[in-house]
Amino acid sequence: MLNPLKKDIVRINNLVVKYGENTILNDISTRFYSSEIRVILGTSGCGKTTLLKSIIGLLKPFSGTVYIENTEIKDQDDPETVKILKKIGVLFQNGALLGSMTVGENVALPLQMHTNLPDSIIKEIVQLKLAQVDLPNASELYPGELSGGMKKRAALARALALDPPLLFCDEPSAGLDPVTSAGLDELLLKIRKTLGITIIVVTHELLSIEKIADNITFLSKGALLFDGPLKDALALEKGPIVDFFKRHEPKNKFHLSNTTDFFVENIK
C-alpha cells in the first residue's frame, strides 16, 4: 500500500517491543516519507506512544531496527544517534516541560545546548516560537502555572525550537477545545508547508485526521492493520478502521461465551 518510489525519512523494520513479558508491538514494519504528515491512530492503549518512543530510541526494542535518515537508532550514548536526535522535535503526550524552569527557559534550552547563537537571538527565537503557538505572554511563567492545553502548546514551541526536519507529536490536541485544536492543525500544516518538515502525529480526533493526514498508520493490539493514504482507508467497506472512523462501538465488548444462563419463569 505504501509507495515504494517516494523518498523516506524513517524506516522501521520488523519492530517488536515488549514491556517485561507483555508484547506491546508485534512485528511492525513501515516507512514515513519526507515532508508528509503521517497520522498514527488506534484505540487507547494499543501502543502508539510505545511506537513513538521506540522510534526515537527511548525504548530498546526487543528486536527489529529503526532507521532515521539512513542512520540506525541505537541507544542514547551512540554519537550518531545523538546527532540524529538533534534533528527531531518531540511533543510528549503530557508535555514533559521541565518543571523547574520557566516556559521561556524551556524553549531556550535546546537552543542553548545545541547552538552557539548569542543570547539576544535566542530570546527572539523563543518569543517567535511562543507567538507561533499563541502563547506570547507565557515566557516568564512556570509550567505548573499553565493550563493543560497551554502546556501542550508550550511543549510544541520547545519541540519546534531548532526547526527540526522531523517532528513527532503525541496527541497534540488532546484536552484542547475544538477552536484551539483546529488552530493547531493549521499550524502543523503551515510549518509543513513553509519548512517542508515531516510530521508524525498520534491523534484520535477524526476531524483533524481528515484535515491534516496524508497517510495513516493504523495499529490494533500491537499489530499494524493499515498503512497507506488516507483516502484508501476511507474507501474501505468494513473492518476496525471503518469502525474507528464511523465511531462504531466494538463488537464483543464482553465475551459472552461460557456464561451461566438464568432460569426464567414468565418474562414480563
Binding site: 514533559a96 459472552l256 419463569e265
Partner: protein, 355 residues
C-alpha cells in the same frame, strides 16, 4: 409427590445496594432452590445485578436452581450483559511459593539492583569527568547554583550542630579527665575525634538528609513527568543535566563544609577547656598541634570526599529507579535518606580499619 424445598423471595420495587446489604445472607443459602419474584421490581442497580449473578452462580455450584419469576425483559437483558465470565487472578501455584524459587527471585532482584546501582555510579563518574570532554550538557550557572544550594545553605546548620556536638563531647570527656587530673588531654582528644570522625561524619549525615533527599526527589519527579525522556530526545544527556552539577557541587563543597564543621567542633571543645577546665588557650592550641598529624587531616579529607560521592550516588540511584507516581517519589526519597545514612556509617566503620 415430593415437593423440593424451595424459598420464594419477593424483591422490592427497587433492588439496590441497600436491599443487597440487608439480604446478603441469601448468598449462604445452599439447601433450597430459590425463586426471586421480580413482579414489582422497576429498578435494579449494579449491586442488585451482581447480587443476582452471584446468587445464580452459587446455586449452580451447589446443584440447586435459581429461578427468576416475572422478570421484565429489559432487566433480563441487563443481567445478560453483566454476565461475563469472571476473571479471577490466577491463584499462585505452590511451585511459585517454594523456598528455592523465592530465594532465587530475591537473589536475582538483588543482583539486578546492584547492577543498576553500579551503572548509575559509572555513568555519573564518566559523565562527570571524561564525558565532559565529549559534551557539556548542563545549564549555564548550574554548578554555581548547586554549590549555593547544597553548600552555602547547609553551612549554618552544619557548623551550629558540630559546635554543639563539640561542646557536649568535650564536657563529657572533661568530667572524666578531670577526675584523673588529665584535663590537658582534652585538646588532642577532641581535636582528633573531630578531624578524623565527627567533622566528616556529621556533615555527611546532614547532607544525606538535605542533599540526598533533594536529589532523589528532584530526579524522581523528573522521571515520573517524562522530563528525563524529553531531555534525551533533545539530545541532552539526563545524567549530565541533572546529576553532574550536583556531583561537582557536592565534591567541592563537602570537604569545605567538613573543615568548617571540624573547626566549629574544636571551638566548642576550646570553650569547654577554657571555662570548665580552666586551661589557658596557649596550652590548648599547643597540645592540639603537638598531637594532630597530617595523616589525621588526610583521613578526614578523604572521608569527606568519599562520603559526598556516596550521598550523590545513592540519591540519584533512588531517583532514577522510580516507577509510578507521586507516592513512589515519596517512597524512594525516604529509602534514599535511610540507605544513605546507613551506607555512610558503614563506610565510616570500614575507614576506621584502613585509614
Amino acid at each position: 409427590m415430593v415437593s423440593i424445598s424451595q424459598k420464594i423471595i419477593t424483591i422490592p420495587p427497587v433492588l439496590d445496594r441497600n436491599w443487597v446489604e440487608q439480604s446478603n445472607s441469601l448468598l449462604c443459602e445452599r439447601n433450597r432452590n430459590l425463586i426471586l419474584d421480580l413482579s414489582k421490581t422497576v429498578r435494579i442497580d449494579s449491586a442488585g445485578l451482581c447480587f443476582i449473578k452471584l446468587l445464580n452462580l452459587q446455586c449452580k455450584n451447589s446443584g440447586k436452581k435459581l429461578i427468576l419469576r416475572n422478570i421484565s425483559s429489559d432487566h433480563l437483558n441487563l443481567l445478560k450483559t453483566c454476565n461475563f465470565p469472571f476473571q479471577d487472578k490466577e491463584s499462585p501455584d505452590s511451585f511459585k511459593n517454594s523456598f528455592f524459587v523465592s530465594t532465587g527471585d530475591t537473589f536475582i532482584k538483588f543482583m539486578n539492583n546492584s547492577v543498576h546501582a553500579l551503572s548509575v555510579l559509572t555513568e555519573m563518574l564518566y559523565w562527570g569527568t571524561f564525558g565532559l570532554l565529549k559534551k557539556q550538557d548542563f545549564k549555564r550557572g548550574a554548578l554555581g547554583e548547586q554549590m549555593y544550594q547544597l553548600g552555602y545553605k547547609a553551612f549554618g546548620i552544619v557548623t551550629l550542630l558540630s559546635f554543639l556536638i563539640g561542646i557536649v563531647l568535650s564536657l563529657q570527656s572533661a568530667m572524666q579527665l578531670r577526675n584523673f587530673g588529665a584535663g590537658i588531654f582534652l585538646a588532642p582528644l577532641i581535636g582528633i575525634t573531630m578531624v578524623r570522625e565527627m567533622g566528616p561524619l556529621l556533615t555527611a549525615i546532614i547532607l544525606a538528609g538535605r542533599t540526598g533527599s533533594a536529589t532523589t526527589a528532584e530526579i524522581a519527579t523528573m522521571g515520573v513527568g517524562e522530563e528525563l525522556d524529553a531531555l534525551q530526545t533533545m539530545g541532552i544527556n539526563p545524567i549530565q543535566f541533572a546529576v553532574v552539577p550536583k556531583f561537582w557541587a557536592i565534591s567541592i563543597t563537602m570537604p569545605i563544609l567538613s573543615i568548617l564543621a571540624t573547626a566549629a567542633g574544636i571551638l566548642g571543645g576550646f570553650f569547654v577547656a577554657i571555662f570548665y577546665l580552666d586551661l589557658s588557650s596557649s596550652i590548648f592550641w599547643g597540645e592540639l598541634s603537638k598531637h594532630l598529624h597530617l595523616r589525621d587531616l588526610n583521613a578526614g579529607f578523604i572521608k569527606s570526599v568519599v562520603f559526598s560521592w556516596l550521598i550523590i550516588w545513592i540519591g540519584s540511584y533512588y531517583g532514577l529507579r522510580v516507577r509510578g507516581g507521586a507516592e513512589a517519589v515519596g517512597r524512594e526519597t525516604t529509602a534514599s535518606v535511610v540507605t544513605g545514612i546507613f551506607i555512610i556509617i558503614l563506610a565510616d566503620a570500614i575507614f576506621s580499619f584502613i585509614l
